[in-house]
Point group: C2
Chain length 343, copies 2
């Protein structure tokens, strides 16, 4: 009887361990673990099931499974200023050192003054001048090296972390979930294509050829050893924002996405274009409504308008009319950043 | 004994069948079966082994395995006139019917006259006017439908077959062989990106997003039902020929190829750019030296120069200097077309 009791005990223990590890496995296999249950999470799951189940009338063949993501404000923090603009501003001293005649020329003089208020007031024209001075005129390899170096050292002011850590954990889960279901994930950003391609693979698992962004031309020439290289030109080829997003998607991908994700007026046309396709399509907008954990902005939320990431009432109204799904950072996201402790 | 003899016979027969089917299997598994043994075939095999063998010092990680192919004259027949030009010329009557005022305007008048000699003398400017009139001003969907329809009905003059059958069998074997070894194959063509994308998947197994070509802009707008669509503009965004090929590769792929294949001066910079990368890189040029089975042209072969697919002495000299491998259609290719009977 004693032996029998021990065997029974062993069985009970083994079963308990089995159940516990089964539960753990189940928890680990929720691909969207950082999402709270709700309309947004449900919309994603339903879309993926409908388009990947062979018996579904909405089945999408693997080669057509394209999902496009805006970057700034959709995959990582854009407030109060785009990361790429910070990069350009940080590069100004080095550029002025090389070309001292710029020290007294605007807008470089203002940037060199360090006067934050004055810098914040720079116009779009000023920023384009700074962009041209800091991001063109060098070879594509030099640009890549410089951006990599900067990303390895620059620290954001609020979280005191590298910018590449300011990605939204629920969105990186979503990228992986879509890829695990045969979707190719693309970034379609108003930001610089060459800039984002430097870190897209490491940060998002998105290879350079799946980054569509605002792109300038390059010029092919030879160095003194006859070795060819490409120089970044200040000539704009693709302004990948607003209507430029579907135009860029057509040029760079040549297929209409089945799912598209954005957060601002610059993403409107990409989401419209996506939803206008046949079959089932998913369009989602990230709403920045979490002042505590991230930021809260946008007239659609009764909050101040911003220069970047404009979430207007008109955009909100179109989302409602077209059946786009709003993602509330506050309600839908359990955690926002990977570095946050779990709630 | 009788039983033993029968068993022995059965064994002999089984062995013979086994050997025969083994031989057949071996023949079937040569991925480059339409290539004769020689320097070109050997260069391909060596390159693939060196870059895909994990123990090789020249190993290339799968994500970096990019191979780029010119189309006209490299993957399919370009002589005596590019297929896309034939498409444009064939479209002229329909365009003139819609816009009768063009009937008496050049170059449309010449095309409508059917005078082959006069048509052959049209200038590049004339051809660009015809291209703009026949391939822009409609939606990207309408263009795709029209090209598909044409490809389904048009027949080439020499072989009396659809143009999509005029692909070089050894090159389609090469595409498959590279893909089987983890390479992503891209078309990088001076031809129209939107044109080639219509049939690239079906004809070459290359999806639209892996076609880089000369590209015009598009404009986003809405139809009367508020449904968005893209219209093809006559504005040139990327002239994907000569230096435009490496520039286009940078823009559309963002990685330097490990292997590149071309046949004319328009491919020179793509091959230079490819070979200038670190590690082992393969650059190959198809030489059209088979007047009987295809065409023979190019000053490098002591043959007349041509408007299309120029194989100049300077290109030949650079190939020799840079270690590019010449593919002789006559010597290296057992069969040129899939529809040919085996030699």
């Amino acid at each position: 009887m004693k032996l029998y009791a021990r065997a029974l005990l062993a069985l009970v223990v083994a079963t308990a361990i089995g159940v516990a590890s089964g539960r753990q496995a189940l928890a680990q296999t929720d691909p969207l673990a950082s999402w709270n249950d709700g309309a947004a999470k449900a919309a994603i799951s339903e879309f993926v099931h409908a388009t990947t189940d062979q018996s579904s009338p909405k089945f999408v063949p693997p080669e057509e499974r394209i999902a496009t993501f805006d970057q700034d404000g959709t995959l990582w923090v854009e407030h109060p200023i785009y990361t790429q603009v910070i990069y350009c501003l940080d590069r100004v001293p080095a550029v002025v050192k090389e070309k001292p005649e710029l020290a007294n020329a605007e807008p470089f003089k203002t940037v060199m003054s360090g006067d934050r208020e004055a810098i914040a007031k720079l116009s779009m024209d000023d920023l384009l001048k700074i962009l041209a001075a800091t991001s063109t005129g060098m070879s594509v390899d030099e640009f890549e090296t410089e951006v990599k170096r900067w990303l390895g050292t620059a620290i954001d002011a609020r979280w005191k972390r590298p910018y590449t850590e300011l990605t939204y954990l629920p969105m990186t889960e979503l990228l992986k979930y879509l890829r695990a279901n045969g979707y190719r994930t693309y970034i379609v950003t108003g930001g610089g294509q060459d800039f984002v391609r430097v870190y897209s693979e490491q940060v998002y698992g998105i290879p350079p050829e799946q980054v569509v962004g605002t792109a300038g031309g390059t010029s092919y020439s030879y160095d003194k050893n006859g070795r060819p290289f490409l120089t970044k030109d200040p000539k704009l080829l693709l302004n990948d924002d607003f209507a430029g997003k579907p135009e860029g998607i057509h040029m760079m991908i040549g297929r209409r996405p089945y799912a598209a994700f954005g957060n601002s007026t610059g993403d409107q046309q990409m989401l419209e274009y996506t939803k206008a396709g046949d079959g089932t399509r998913l369009a989602m907008l990230v709403s920045h409504d979490d002042a505590k954990r991230e930021y809260a902005y946008g007239p659609a939320l009764g909050l101040p308008d911003t220069k970047v990431g404009r979430f207007t009432q008109a955009l909100y109204d179109e989302a409602t009319k077209q059946g786009w799904v709003i993602i509330s950072m506050k309600k839908d996201w359990k955690r926002i950043f990977a570095f946050e402790s779990e709630q």
